[in-house]
């Protein structure tokens, strides 16, 4: 499985999760886990996704998410999960 971690940070507005999820569905990226909080009106979401069947390559999806974030005033990052595994698991 090719897993990645998506982090979404920014001012809370209506429809953030909907838009991010729609984008991922269109790219055939499967969501495995979502954790989300609002801290002082700041939206903070971490998603773990499976990209094994993704339609586009990683860089295209990463750029797409970045643009989506920019259009909503959010910072959206996607990172391959390995970096967290390497750092926090022996």
């Amino acid at each position: 499985m090719k897993r990645a971690v998506i982090t979404v940070v920014g001012k809370d507005t209506v429809g953030i999760i909907a838009k991010v999820c729609t984008y991922l569905a269109n790219e055939n990226v499967n969501i495995l886990d979502i954790s989300q909080t609002i801290l002082k009106e700041f939206f903070n979401m971490i998603m773990i996704v499976d990209m094994s069947n993704a339609g586009n390559d990683f860089v295209k999806i990463a750029n797409g998410l970045e643009e989506l974030g920019n259009s909503m005033g959010l910072v959206i990052r996607i990172q391959r999960e390995d970096i967290f595994d390497m750092m926090h698991r022996i």
Binding site: D33, F58, I83
Partner: protein
Amino acid sequence: MINRAEVLETNKMIQESKLDVRTITLGISLLDCIDSDLKKCCDRIYDKITKTAEKLVPTGELIEKEYQIPIVNKRISITPAALVGGACCKSKEDFVEIAKTLDRAAATVGVNFLGGFSALVSKGMTKADKDLITSIPLALSQTNALCSSVNVGSTKTGIDMDAVELLGHIILETAEATKDQGSLGCAKLVVLCNAPDDNPFMAGAFHGVTESDAIINVGVSGPGVVKRALEEVRGENFEVLCETIKKTAFKITRVGQLVAKEASELMGIPFGIVDLSLAPTPAIGDSVAEILKEIGVDEPGAPGTTAALALLNDQVKKGGLMASSYVGGLSGAFIPVSEDQGMIDAVNRGALTIEKLEAMTCVCSVGLDMIAVPGDTEPSKISGIIADEMAIGMINQKTTAVRLIPVIGKTVGDTVEFGGLLGTAPVMSVNSFGCSSFVSRGGRIPAPVHSFKN
């Protein structure tokens, strides 16, 4: 599955504490480019570098994107040029031709530095070694990306004092040849003792003759991350302090290991080593000096600094060693002056002198690094400083290095601006007493007694 706190911790390191991979350095052997004809040799060098390193920069950029971690530099190290050019270079001008070829190849593949315009002369110099060394001032003033190093000593061989004496003059000539740029050429010239074959960091990187045809070496960094972690344990005892550094170094090095493996796979070039160094930059919060202050000295240079640095260097190694399958290079804390805002401040406040820096180099991973001295410093004094530093390396069986910049037209109290990662250097004072009778004796210092282990 990875949890929220772990994701946030990693991303905080990258975004707030400036965790980065300092360099992916591709080591390339040029031994198969040797030819008795200079033009043929240069053509082969250019072809081999541009072909082998073709994918280096795009690979680095892809990894940056996939993990959202900055990879600050993509660089190349090559077989010491004195060995490659020995058969075809009959004069120093011929070596300048090789230097220009290397610079052209570096520009084509888009790397910011190429290291290995080097000679290994720890016991003596061949004619080619001498020609290369005397070509350094011209070579560095006519190229942009080229870095040069000379290994003048080792624990096994002793110190080649003829080379040390010569380099005092060469460093000053390089300063003079690049005086329009604040004597910048000297920032790309380092004199080493016990130079490692697999160092990914400039200016001392070269691809040793013991290495395979091409290899990926990665240098990690992250002084900001260590500093931030130590802020959390202020006032705690040494055990807690050391454990914190170790754990942080482990995490930093794991990222280096990941990037090295990934780059190796993508480029189809074997992974060599991870160099687990704490390498500062002039950026605020990316400073080894700040770590020393966090450990508890008021300024780097204050009493206690050497002990604090010894502890830091050792814990970085202990934490990093388990994090990577192969550790190499210099691996420890770097203490350059111009590249570390905290060190610059310490010099300007009068806390840090060359003599204290020399003591600190006994316990850190390199040496007297990026130190500006007055442009009118005598060559024999520069040779004397090099000899002292080489002796520390030789006796303590460690790598030491000297990267001094005699800034032409400047004196103590002035500063010189190099820009970028090389930073700003306050001109430091050199002991007013001389050593010309010592450095001009000729010959070499024999290997120390503890090198005879056979």
